[in-house]
Symmetry: C2
Subunit: 498 residues, 2 copies
């Protein structure tokens, strides 16, 4: 027990350092003056190195070994906590400290260059930085893979989504790849035969958008005593324990997008705010991987808030807030706007039907980049080709193509698939929730999230990392992650089936 307690103290310190980095990272994207970027990168790098040093100290390994010998004396949560400590230790100790520092700095730098390269659609400007970031991330993947007995890409993936493997993703994504182009075509044909939804006539003053967003966050159960809503160029959910900060970006010509963005991030935030109170500062209290995290944002946004039921609640509120007149403000039209399917260039603007195509492409490209089968210089061409194949779209410039996302310049390889895995998990969980609580659709039509949030809290949020992802899904939905409920959801919503 002494070894375990000593580990708990050690991991609480790591948690505090990570929380500190969370607030500094949030600040960098919301308020930080431009000239502070270099210093902030240094601060974040140092905090990461410090957390890494505490985590990878020989003493940590010794304590884990001692505590493991003594595991019989631990309770179930303590054992799960020890398992997560071991996982974190293995991931971190696999990577030499120098490589951590160098790769973190390289990522910060290429992320900074990317901001300018994207603005000017200048891939050549980014290329050397991206190549360096890739090279270092491949090294990280190789180092972790050697320690964990995994291929480099699986090792990187495991860092975002513990337990996830290419062997799980490949068949799921193959199925999507086989079905998706046809499904998109069928849905597009069907929507073409119906009257196109009318755009809501603006303008939409920022203050009114913000007030409505705050009201919906409150309705969904966001705790403002332990979190905030702010503005950033790229919306995200960040911050720290008991200080969950989501962001959005307002467009005075279109209120629908920021609103759904706020609800998406609120889904992430509910997960963070709902983690098990007694374990908040321990590894087992953390959210269980990025797929499940994305499932929570997509469950709130896509499953709950883009439903016909919630649109019936939302439409009159939108009309009130923006003094709307005419039938564009009717619930049916709003639902039509929120379920319009249209292949487009930008991933983050994609509807839920075409979105997976963007992910399939990126998954192919990043697995090839990590394996060395795709060189950075060939990335723009491969990207554009994939867009043509998967969505029938011609990419007019790198700004709207392979330069659009921050992930690769920021050093995140192995992250992209979790978006679509999350969409699948969301459909699976929402279906289980409705089977357990059939009143949920009627609740949403009244803007009442209480029952849904309670179910999520109990079945997902409060479990933290107590269960492995697939254990959680089996316990909660009766089966491991699959594509069926997701495909069924798309067929139901977009083709009126089932």
């Amino acid at each position: 027990m002494r070894a375990y307690r000593s580990l708990a103290t050690r991991f609480a310190r790591i948690g505090a350092v990570e929380d500190a980095a969370g607030i500094l990272g949030w600040d960098a994207q919301t308020l930080m003056p431009k000239g502070a970027a270099e210093g902030r990168a240094e601060q974040l790098a140092q905090l990461r190195v410090i957390a890494h040093e505490i985590l990878t100290a020989a003493e940590t390994g010794d304590l884990i070994a001692q505590a493991s010998d003594d595991e019989a004396g631990l309770g179930a949560w303590e054992r799960a906590n020890l398992r997560e400590m071991r996982r974190a230790y293995l991931h971190a100790s696999a990577v030499p400290g120098d490589l951590v520092a160098v790769s973190s700095k390289a990522s910060s730098r290429s992320e900074m260059v990317w901001r300018e390269a994207r603005a000017t659609s200048d891939f050549a400007m980014l290329a050397p930085h991206l190549a360096e970031t890739l090279r270092l991330q491949r090294e990280v993947g190789e180092a972790k893979g050697a320690a964990l007995g995994l291929a480099p890409y699986d090792a990187l993936l495991d860092g975002y989504d513990p337990g996830m493997r290419r062997a799980v993703i490949d068949p799921l994504f193959s199925r999507l790849r086989a079905i998706l182009p046809g499904l998109i075509g069928t849905i597009r044909d069907r929507q073409a035969m119906m009257p196109a939804p009318m755009p809501l006539p603006g303008p939409f003053p920022v203050e009114a958008q913000k007030a409505l967003g705050l009201a919906l966050m409150r309705a969904a159960g966001f705790d403002f005593e332990r979190g905030r809503l702010d503005i950033s160029l790229h919306p995200f959910c960040g911050g720290a324990t008991d200080d969950v900060r989501i962001t959005t970006r307002y467009d005075e010509a279109d209120a629908t997008r920021a609103l759904m963005g706020v609800l998406h991030e609120t889904g992430h935030a509910l997960y963070e705010q709902g983690r098990p109170p007694a374990w908040l500062h321990q590894p087992v209290g953390n959210a269980r991987g990025m797929s499940l995290h994305e499932s929570q944002s997509l469950l709130i946004e896509m499953q709950a808030c883009r439903s016909a039921e919630f649109c019936a609640y939302l439409a009159p509120r939108l009309r009130d807030v923006f003094a709307g007149e005419g039938s564009a403000w009717d619930a049916e039209n709003l639902h039509g706007l929120y379920t319009r399917v249209e292949p487009g260039l930008i991933r983050v603007d994609a509807d839920e039907v075409t979105y997976p195509a963007h992910i399939l492409l990126r998954y192919d490209l990043e697995t090839a980049m990590i394996s060395g089968d795709l060189a950075i210089t060939d990335l723009p061409g491969a990207f554009d080709e994939g867009m043509r194949d998967l969505l029938g779209i011609v990419v007019p410039s790198d700004r709207l193509g392979c330069l659009q996302d921050i992930h690769w310049p920021g050093g995140s390889f192995g992250y992209f698939p979790t978006y679509t895995l999350g969409a699948m998990a969301a459909a699976q969980l929402f279906r289980a929730a409705r089977e357990s609580l059939p009143g949920i659709p009627a609740d949403l039509a009244r803007g009442d999230f209480t029952a849904l949030r309670g179910w999520l809290r109990e079945n997902v949020h409060q479990r933290g990392s107590f269960l492995e992802t697939d254990e959680l899904l089996v316990t909660t939905t009766g089966k491991p992650l699959g594509a069926e409920d997701y495909m069924r959801h798309l067929r139901h919503r977009y083709l009126g089936e089932g």
Copy 2:
């Protein structure tokens, strides 16, 4: 050289951790949601412990010893840097780890109790906690004193203002004590014979106050690429290297106070933003102690911006921004408002003539507390007696008396004198600047800070901690810190002499 370089890396890391803590501390006072307070305290405590551990590691001491043996091979700035490293190491390693932890916890606790005790004016509630904090701070002073060869109070003082000693302060403060009550009386009599300045009629919308504050900051030379202005309950200058953040608090009934507050914090910020670029992340690149820091805020606020010349520039701008009408908006009246002398209960509200009386009193009391000559139970009586003696004011309640300041409950003994030492240094430096650049008053009348800022940058800011405080003053003003220029300034501004 290897030992020195290794130290530089080590201290750069400490600097990055301190910068991180600076941003987190800023956030805690500006934006943080209420429920995050406990977590934030934990994050800050962990960062402090981490910085302390790096600083006091045996290896740090060994490296300092090695580098000192090798000092001949170092350049002048490197030698000064090593001196500052040694100072930081001696201060930190003098105090046993247990005492650091216990005294820091006791201070947090008594600071928390103080918030409630002040609100209810309940000194008895605070007394046992303050006694414990005092006892532990005395222990800290004794431990540091033993290591540095100083008396306990001098050792505490040295932590805020390197090199400052009671032997320097006592004669300076004795002179003030002899002169001040008579001077205040004379000035009050003189002001009583003149028409009282008219208050500016409000209201003053926050947005307009903010816009004017930002414009004045810009005029004074604040670099918004490396800093921000925000709102907090208690105004301060904080943040990090290349990210200097000042705050203010707006009152829609009075614009003059927030405006001067912004200029005061701008003075601190110019110092921070003007530190030597090549040494920003090393101890020698830090600002030289609290007296000199306060001299920079008071030089901008009291010496420059409350001058008749700057009021002539400011008055028409105030009139424009707030659409003012009538003679209250005339420069002479504004100058009258900004130089009104009136003894009052609250230190932070005091004018520059009566302010030192508040400091003389606190200096007497805290030196007596540290030496054991004043028991906590006798503090309220001694405080009230001092206010009567020095300012002729009867303290109606402890809330407006000895409970008004956070310093003692927070464990800061030895900080108070730096406010008045800073006021003296400000007068001395401003006089030297004007002797060197006689155009400064005329510049200020045009809102032009360029020459003054250039002088401060060269003579103070860019020196960082290269020179000891007195060396800097001798080099820059021809003499060590004294009270003459300060008294001359008061006689000139308030009695029209010289």
